[in-house]
């Protein structure tokens, strides 16, 4: 299965998080919210200007900016 940055995922596409490249504050924030390797996600939607993006993880909805999504690698289905 191909591994791509979260930014490139399409709406409604699903996948499993493969890795988080960010460190420091951003890395901690992403992980605090449950974005850790092994979790399944589904892209829920994008804001009217295509940024930020909203995604579904562990039964709740999370939003992040595209430049934050760049740090997340996803193995897409």
């Amino acid at each position: 299965m191909p591994c791509i940055p979260l930014r490139q995922m399409q709406v409604n596409q699903t996948g499993t998080i493969a890795g988080i490249k960010a460190r420091g504050e951003l890395g901690t924030r992403l992980r605090d919210m449950g974005l850790v390797p092994g979790k399944e996600i589904r892209i829920q939607g994008k804001a009217p200007l295509y940024d930020p993006v909203s995604l579904r993880i562990m039964g709740f909805t999370l939003t992040l900016r595209n430049n934050e999504a760049d740090h997340i690698l996803v193995e897409v289905n």
Binding site: G27, G45, A47, P48
Partner: protein, 709 residues
């Protein structure tokens, strides 16, 4: 002495609702010492015990990256509450337990209040409470905080377990980290390094997590130990980087989630329905955040909020004004003309009236915003607008503050500044606080109306539109400037939860609104009264030797006293104003303000505008010897300005520009200082805005006159 409990949990988990259910009206709001984070305390009683509850800030974790998280964990360490009641959203168990684990690692006694059992059930999530409790080794009480279900059970459980201090949780973080931890713990224990407050293993973990607060504390207490621990952490970082392409921080978080997953997999949570089913909330989002429908709906909601805040509060605001008008009339009848009467009416009654006049506005605004916040719509707005606001170093949620301040002409910066509370990112919040006063508040409108009517009567609507545009562009550009200079730094991560749509409870809205309003009255009120008296003094002293009354007489009574001096008409009020401190300031500043086209009369009016922007109109009237001018009906002043020397469209527009940008009125300044947590920012907004306004006006005036000549 009762049992002390600290309420902790994720944002949107129903923590505030539970706090209200526990304490009812017996609560009071203050701040944690030295910071602007709100601290709510309250008392509650069960059949057998009395409890003292503190509401900790809502957080997802206990890192050192945000003020809220540091406040929460410091409270637990310093105050040692008998029990941490960790409110956990049952419909969102996995993520909520992440915070629970961190409390358990600190060795704090924890009791889980498993909230929203009804929502979880509706979503087909079945939780084995007994199993969860035994696997985690802590009491778990199911509840529905909205209806108060489970309250008595919770209090009973807390009372039963309050005396017991559990063994701290030890999660295995994999061989590499565990070995490093063991090595560090041994030395930390033998050296008693920070152990007066923290558990050795927790300190070691924080060194691996690169936690700034603990690192700083460690360096201070024992620099040798600090550098040794840091070197161990660094060695591990290099090792993990080389072998597993990861780092301790990441690995620790991953393992915590792994621990949670392993617990939930042991039959704690079962889904009786398809996990990936589209929830109602998601369906609503399909429309509410739709590319085209979303923004349209948002405009409608903002207009609605605006209408609600300003139109519906007009009636109680009118009552306030009438009451203070009546009071002033009564006092005027009781006191004889003189300084005392002037002080009481113009200084005190106008001052108190000024403070209380904002109260209905603030109440309505907070009611509206609390509603949008509690339903979950505010987060959607931030989501949709973030792309635009981020360009200027702000946050999607800044929009609320801008709109309320007068982004749609006619708002007010005072509630606008307070609306910035919904922003959680500190830098973006400060930049918002400092730029919202550029919006066109209702008090600036009479000033524009006067000048536009006098000099741009052909294109009134177009000029008003240009004014609105200039204030928005100006505010956003200044925000960008501030964010790249004085409030420098990278954007705070946006990572934000979109909570499911919920209908707010009336009780919650009422408590929330009242708290905020009362805080405004209490905190800002006293300061504003003081400044109001100082401003009165500036426009009254020193007095003319001739025994004429300065500014206390009501409109019209002084018209008879007008006398002629050469060509110019000067009435006593005008002469007295010219003689006062404010008048002298106006004269002294004239050489500078001339560059922007302002004469000394305008300067005095602008000084008066610091009290409230609409005062510019009435003071201008006094300065141009027209007696009192009603800001709502300034026709005569408009004619007077048209014929006054030095006035023309260029001067008028220069004054409009100055009015947009110069110092916020002092009520707004006080609010900025209170909300930013420092008078420094209040002073900054006065000085910076005034200099900026002067610069813009001079640049415009000089360029325009040069082009015209």
């Amino acid at each position: 002495m009762g049992i002390s409990i600290a309420l902790a949990g994720n944002p949107n988990s129903g923590k505030t609702t539970l706090f209200n259910v526990l304490t009812g009206a017996r609560q009071h709001v203050g701040n944690y010492p030295g910071v602007t984070v709100e601290k709510k305390q309250g008392r509650c009683v069960s059949n057998t015990h009395e409890f003292h509850a503190v509401d900790l800030p809502g957080t997802y974790s206990l890192s050192a990256y945000s003020l809220e998280e540091v406040v929460a964990r410091d409270f637990i360490v310093k105050e040692q509450p008998d029990m941490v009641v960790n409110i956990v959203d049952a419909s969102n168990l996995e993520r909520n337990l992440y915070l629970t684990l961190q409390f358990m690692e600190m060795g704090t006694p924890v009791c889980i209040a498993l909230n929203m059992m009804d929502v979880a059930k509706k979503r087909g999530i079945d939780i084995d409470i007994a199993k969860l409790s035994s696997l985690l080794g802590l009491p778990v009480v199911p509840m529905v905080a909205r209806t108060g279900k489970g309250r008595d059970d919770l209090l009973k459980t807390v009372a039963e377990h309050a005396e017991i201090r559990p063994a701290p949780l030890k999660i295995s973080y994999g061989r590499d980290i565990d070995e490093a931890l063991d090595e560090m713990v041994e030395k930390i224990s033998s050296e008693h390094f920070l152990t007066d407050r923290y558990l050795p293993r927790w300190v070691a973990l924080k060194y691996l997590e690169n936690d700034v607060q603990i690192l700083e504390m460690g360096k201070e207490q024992n620099p040798q130990m600090d550098s040794w621990l840091s070197s161990v952490a660094q060695k591990l970082t290099h090792h993990l980087d080389a072998t597993l392409d990861t780092h301790p921080e990441g690995m620790i978080a991953d393992q915590r989630y792994g621990f949670i997953t392993s617990i939930l997999k042991q039959g704690v949570m079962t889904h009786t329905r398809d996990k990936n089913r589209i929830e109602t909330s998601d369906k609503i989002d399909k429309i509410v955040t739709h590319r085209f429908l979303g923004p349209m709906l948002m405009v409608a909601v903002l207009m609605g909020l605006y209408q609600f805040t300003f139109a519906y509060s007009a009636v109680p605001v009118g009552w306030c004004e009438d009451f203070f008008g009546w009071l002033a009339g009564r006092v005027a009848g009781l006191l004889s003309d003189g300084l005392l009467k002037s002080l009481v009416i113009s200084g005190i009654i106008d001052g108190v009236g000024g403070v209380l006049g904002f109260v209905p506005l603030i109440m309505f605004m907070f009611l509206g915003i609390s509603f949008l916040e509690d339903t979950g719509y505010l987060a959607r707005m931030a989501f949709m607008l973030d792309r635009i606001f981020r360009l200027f170093g702000l946050h999607g949620a800044s929009v609320m503050a801008f709109i309320v301040s007068g982004g749609i002409a006619g708002g007010c910066a005072v509630p606008g500044v307070m609306a910035a509370r919904t922003l959680k990112s500190p830098k973006e919040r400060l930049a918002t606080l400092l730029t919202v006063p550029f919006m066109n508040c209702g008090a600036k409108l009479p000033v524009y109306a006067l000048l536009v009517a006098a000099f741009f009567s052909e294109n009134q609507a177009r000029v008003m539109f240009i004014i609105t545009l200039i204030s928005w562009v100006g505010a956003l550009l200044v925000a960008k400037l501030l964010r790249s200079t004085v409030i420098q730094g990278p954007a705070t991560p946006f990572v934000m939860e979109l909570p499911p749509y919920r209908l707010p409870t009336f009780k919650g809205l009422a408590i929330h609104t009242w708290e905020r309003t009362w805080q405004y009255i209490k905190k800002a009120g006293t300061v504003i009264l003081g400044i109001s008296i100082i401003l009165w003094a500036m426009m009254t002293f020193p007095r003319l030797d001739t025994p004429i009354m300065a500014d206390s007489a009501p409109a019209g009574t002084q018209q008879e006293a007008v006398w002629q001096t050469g060509e110019e008409q000067v009435d006593p009020a005008s002469a007295a104003l010219r003689h006062s401190i404010a008048g002298r300031m106006g004269m002294v500043l004239e050489p500078v303000t001339r560059l922007a086209g302002f004469d000394w009369q305008t300067n005095i009016a602008l000084v008066g505008g610091f009290a409230a922007k609409e005062v510019v109109v009435s003071t201008l009237g006094t300065a141009y010897s027209l007696g009192d001018v009603d800001p709502e009906d300034a026709g005569s002043l408009s004619e007077r300005l048209q014929s006054a020397p030095g006035w023309g469209p260029i001067t008028a527009f220069s004054l409009i520009l100055f009015t947009i940008f110069y110092s916020p009125c002092f009520v707004a300044v006080v609010c900025i200082a209170k909300e930013a947590g420092s008078w420094k920012w209040g002073a900054f907004s006065m000085a910076f805005n005034t200099l900026l306004a002067l610069g813009v006006s001079i640049a415009f005036f000089q360029t325009a006159t040069w082009i015209m000549s």
